[in-house]
Amino acid sequence: MPRRQDIRFLLNDRHVTLSGVGAGDMLLDHLRLDQRLRGTKEGCAEGDCGACTVLVGRVGADGLVYEPVNACIRPLASCDGCHVVTVEHLRGHDGALHPVQQAMVDHHASQCGFCTPGFVMALYALWMNNPHPSETDLERALQGNLCRCTGYAPIMRAGLAMGGYGTTDPLLTERAQVAQTLRSWQDGARVDVAKAGSRAILPANADDLASVLAEYPDARIIAGATDVGLWVTKFLRDLPLAVFIGHLDDLRAIDETDDALHLGALVSYTQAHMPLSTHFPHLARYWDRIAGWQVRAMGTLGGNIANGSPIGDTPPPFIALGARLVLRHGDARRDIALEDYFLDYGKQDLRAGEFVETIILPKAMPNTLHAAYKISKRRDEDISAVAAGFALTVEGGTITSARLAFGGMAATPKRASHAEAALTGQPFTMASLQRAADALPQDFTPLSDMRASSEYRMRAAQNLFTRFWLDANGTPATLEDAT
């Protein structure tokens, strides 16, 4: 297998080749400090405010696709083979504003202007595929961008109008050339770069990843970097050796069998949205409340599970669905129930050199009622206080199976076994659900922290049983349903 000791990417209209790159070097610092492109701003350095939004284009199975990412937590090494587009690239060669920019100006959509380049880039990413978005489309696209001045109203007006400003666009003009360049760089090489005692390896493919991990079992695996990125930017943790896997298309496949969906570990939240909402309609709304667009584009299902967080968004609904994980070490694979992966706080059933390869979601069984709930201080782009997945099989009015999984209620995502037991074999009635809710304190003793108190978590989680009953009976019981 070929090896390469540098990374190369397109930055706007320039080729960039870098050899001295550490695993913790972030794209934003490279842009601002090394390239002196200062239109991209740092607002939080944790992927929450979107002021650093840039587009990253990759050539994959679907051709050249651009997605918005947070440059602050996007490792520079992971940009190998990509096209990085910053706000400086948007203006036409004749100096004319891009349609998105002109719409923002005309609608008075900037005040202090610091968040503005990030909003422009997020809107631009939307404009490319959806120049005439609805308000809902816009809100979803802007979940990862904070503005403290405008109250968003003029930005929304600009977004609604941006489709009426023509189609002049640099990336449209350059598209074929860029795709050709990026394709020409796909050399099937393992990339191995380092700087100041921090080494980054980008395996050539999944098999190469298995070999790299077998050789370096202590290496830190980094997929979307939406969590590990913060270890660097917030906690200044060193990364002596990191293996970047976000580019591995062979771990990004979504396969459907007769009875299950097989999702590669690197399937992003964005990529998962369509297949999940098709097979599990109850996940559509839940999915829209995971992070912001940038993080949904960067973050992966495998990463969300593998890091073992007690407040990850995907484990509760996935456990309720009966998800299984395929873990791989070298050429050996094992298959475990998702709930068994989480052993304790910060402790998972993952051996040295092993990695999450596939998530298997069994298709919904007949007669099964599903629900997924998330409760957070702010509706969107917030970490849940409580997340829950419900799956109740009801046959002839009797609950024959109950899978209830909660996040934010314990040190790990966990099933509510007492509550499940209170339901199984019982008639499907509010009284049964109430008994299950009453059993919940036997399952959980939640923590109090800045997101919510223990009392609130328990009470809100118990009330979800009422919500489930109302949902199942078609009573409008959510804010979205009430008009």
Partner: protein, 771 residues
């Protein structure tokens, strides 16, 4: 007049923000974007890890030895005074060397070759402490007999005790209102560049360049004339850069002078939030008397505020809370007392509204109390208590002379269809179910002027170059509010030239000295008038010149769009300027303004602290999920008074932005300190400001276009920065109504702010349990 004969960017025109194109293209330069001088070093602050106690040992050897470290600064490295108290109370050391008063207090600074190396080196400090008991909130501080950080204020009129005793109805209650982080998208930052002798120049994100100048001067031990502070724009301020940036300016300056190299200091978001002050949270106790018609007879209120470890601006902030504890209502007998209590937390500071919102929300809570007690629509109670003829004296003895609230509220009631929608809300709730609705229409009256009377002054400097182009400078700072644009419109209007002829220049203490903070919503009122004064002076010289040169009476000289006429003669503006230059006419002038009429006797609690009032009203409808406590604002209608707007588009932007920011304060923005006194919500991952999807689903915001300031302010406009921040109290009250429906509106829900899902659910459970 036809369009061709109008200038672009005249006063009252919705001209775009002067930097709008630079904003969207990423070319607007913020302090961190300025090209650093060669050899620029980077500083970072090392902070204390306890809330209260003494430092017993400070070992910085490992910090000094860390890679890239050039110097470490402590209190010993300050050649002048180790104090940056903005009010001269000498209670705010730059670095502490002994007593730690809050978790995160600066102890030292590292200067290194890169910011990353400086940050890493900071972590290597070894600090030993002898901890003392700490008190981080109002109750704990009161229990521990903590002092006030500054003298409290009492406002009193009439005999409140007897009036309460004889009132047909009396209610005592308590309202807690949370603080708020500014969460400006651009964090604090300062770049200091040393000059020759004692000179130093700073570029900083500051609302108050003159104060930064003075703080740098006295910490360096040099006169103010040695220090220049510059700011072209900020990425948001909201009050958070009025005094809080002094620390960063001073440390960067100390390092730059000590090392003879440029030094930049930019804390990360977490340190920014851990070190800098926020909106004061309040605990408000009220004792309220009223009659059967819901008319207020007496109010006795105590406003305790978490001020933090030093006085900073807590005195004027708590004063302003009292000044607004009447909001729009006449209190026949009243006593209002502030309690600016010290705590072991960041020193709370200015934030849009400056205590006013905490006063207004107390007034509105009292209205709610009356409405629930009497079973009436709160809007009726409001109207019954509005200031009116014969009942127009405020608790601080100023007469309300310009009241337009009745008209505003009537119009909004109609345009928002309040009555019909309120009935629909009541019907919805009557059907039961977990989703409840609420609606509320609340007014705002906000006093305009700094209550520190001497701050109500401003200067400007206008040059007309001999090609007819104009250079504009004034003491106000641009933080996104559009001040630079509005003042440029005033100048364009004065000279009758297109706004594009006016170069808007950065605020600098070199051009206009002794400026006041751009704060208290006063920026345009003060600086617009100062700039107009400068223009008027230049124009007077031009008129005198033209009259003599063309031999016409002065009164025939007229400035028309792009030209000047002298009777039958017409010359272009540029030709006039060229001719005036050749005739040796001075084409540059300073301008000055001080607000007339105002005075304030704090000891007596009497005076006319405000030049005028700005008014507004909002009607908000919400849905509340009573199973989880989550809320959604379904619709908000706003009618707001900005007098005769200098720029309706920019003013509308201020109103919309303030509304959503105020919604955040009252709903999702929650500051949480853990037991040991450490702030746990110190970044957007844990501190949740509103998103686009949180804005009202339907959001109708209008300016009261018929309004005109009765006072001769700049073009009869009114201040707009702060007043609309209080409009979303209507959201808070509507949430309360939705919750109150669970007990058939018989009980005032007494929600505390912010109304997070947790507070709302717990209130809902409380009311459910009461039935």
């Amino acid at each position: 007049m036809k369009d061709a004969d109008r200038i672009h960017g005249a006063a009252h025109e919705s001209h775009i923000h002067d930097s709008a194109i630079k904003h969207v293209t990423g070319r607007a330069e913020y302090t961190d974007d300025i090209t650093e001088p060669a050899g620029c070093l980077h500083a970072y602050i090392g902070t204390a890890g306890i809330a209260h106690g003494h430092i017993t040992a400070l070992d910085l050897d490992a910090v000094r030895a860390a890679p890239g470290v050039v110097a470490v600064l402590t209190a010993d490295d300050i050649p002048g005074r180790n104090d940056i108290s903005p009010n001269g109370l000498d209670d705010e050391p730059v670095f502490t060397s002994d007593l730690v008063q809050f978790f995160g207090q600066p102890v030292f600074a590292v200067v290194a070759e890169t910011r990353d190396l400086a940050r890493r080196a900071c972590q290597l400090a070894k600090i030993d402490y002898a901890p003392l008991p700490h008190a981080c909130d109002i109750d704990a501080a009161e229990g521990a007999d903590y002092p006030d950080v500054t003298a409290p204020l009492t406002l009193e009129r009439g005999q409140v005790g007897p009036a309460l005793n004889s009132a047909p109805h009396r209610i005592q209650g308590r309202l807690r209102v949370g603080g708020q982080d500014h969460m400006y998208l651009e964090g604090q930052i300062a770049l200091a560049i040393p000059g020759e002798d004692d000179e130093i120049a700073l570029f900083a994100s500051t609302q108050h360049p003159s104060e930064a100048q003075h703080m740098v001067a006295h910490t360096l031990g040099v006169p103010a004339n040695a220090v220049v502070v510059n700011v072209r724009r900020m990425g948001g301020g909201f009050g958070g850069k009025e005094t809080q940036m002094n620390l960063f300016c001073v440390i960067a300056a100390l390092a730059a002078k000590k090392l003879g190299r440029a030094v930049k200091l930019r804390p990360d978001r977490d340190q920014d939030m851990e070190i800098t002050g926020k909106r004061h949270d309040f605990r408000i106790d009220y004792d309220l008397g009223f009659d059967d018609q819901g008319r207020i007879l007496a109010v006795d209120g105590v406003f305790a505020a978490r001020c933090g470890w030093s006085s900073d601006l807590s005195g004027p902030v708590t004063d302003r809370a009292l000044f607004h504890a009447d909001n729009a209502y006449f209190y026949p007998a009243v006593r209002l007392q502030s309690r600016p209590i010290k705590t072991n937390t960041v020193s709370n500071t200015a934030f849009r509204g400056f205590g006013g919102p905490q006063g207004v929300i107390a007034a509105e809570r009292m209205i709610e109390e009356i409405a629930y007690a009497l079973g009436r629509d709160p809007l009726e109670i409001r109207r019954a208590n509005f200031y009116r003829d014969g009942a127009d004296i405020t608790p601080y003895h100023q007469t309300v002379e310009d009241n337009i609230l009745s008209r505003l509220v009537d119009e909004l009631e109609q345009s928002s269809d309040y009555q019909t929608r309120r009935r629909a809300v009541l019907d919805w709730n009557a059907r039961g179910g977990p989703i409840r609705k609420g609606i509320a229409l609340t007014p705002v009256k906000f006093g305009i002027s700094f209550t520190a009377t001497w701050f109500n002054q401003a200067g400007a400097l206008v040059h007309v170059y001999n090609d007819g182009s104009i250079h504009l400078n004034h003491g106000g700072t641009e933080m996104g509010q559009g001040l630079y644009t509005k003042v440029a419109q005033v100048v364009a209007e004065a000279f009758q030239v297109d706004i594009s002829r006016i170069k808007i220049t950065k605020t600098t203490t070199e051009k206009v000295p002794n400026t006041s903070a751009t704060a208290a919503s006063s920026g345009t009122d003060l600086n617009g008038m100062a700039a107009l004064d400068a223009c008027t002076r230049i124009k007077a010289r031009l008129v005198e010149f033209a009259a003599a040169h063309w031999n016409v009476p002065r009164e025939t000289v007229q400035f028309l769009p792009g030209r000047v006429t002298m009777g039958a003669q017409t010359v272009s503006f540029d030709e006039l300027i060229k001719a005036a230059y050749m005739a040796r006419v001075q084409l540059s002038s300073t301008g000055f303004y001080k607000t007339p009429e105002i005075h304030w006797d704090r000891a007596a609690g009497k005076g006319q602290p405000f030049y005028y009032f700005a008014y507004g009203a909002a009607c908000s409808e919400v849905s509340v999920d009573t199973l989880t406590g989550e809320t959604r604002v379904d619709r908000a209608d706003v009618l707001h008074d900005v007098g005769r707007s200098l720029n309706p588009a920019l003013d509308l932007g201020q109103v919309e932005g303030a509304f959503v920011q105020g919604m955040g304060w009252l709903t999702s923005e929650e500051l949480v300190w853990e037991g040991a006194g450490r702030l746990r919500t110190h970044a957007p991952s844990t501190y949740k400001i509103p998103l686009a999807s949180d804005r009202p689903r339907i959001f109708n915001v209008r300016l009261a276009d018929w309004s005109e300031n009765v006072k001769p302010t700049i073009k009869r406009s009114k201040a707009v920065g702060e007043p609309p921040f209080m409009l979303p109290i209507s959201v808070f009250e509507a949430i309360g109504m939705a919750v109150a429906s669970l007990a058939d509106y018989r009980i005032c829900p007494r929600l505390d702010a912010p109304a997070t899902p947790e507070r709302v659910l717990m209130a809902a459970e409380r009311l459910r349990a009461s039935t």
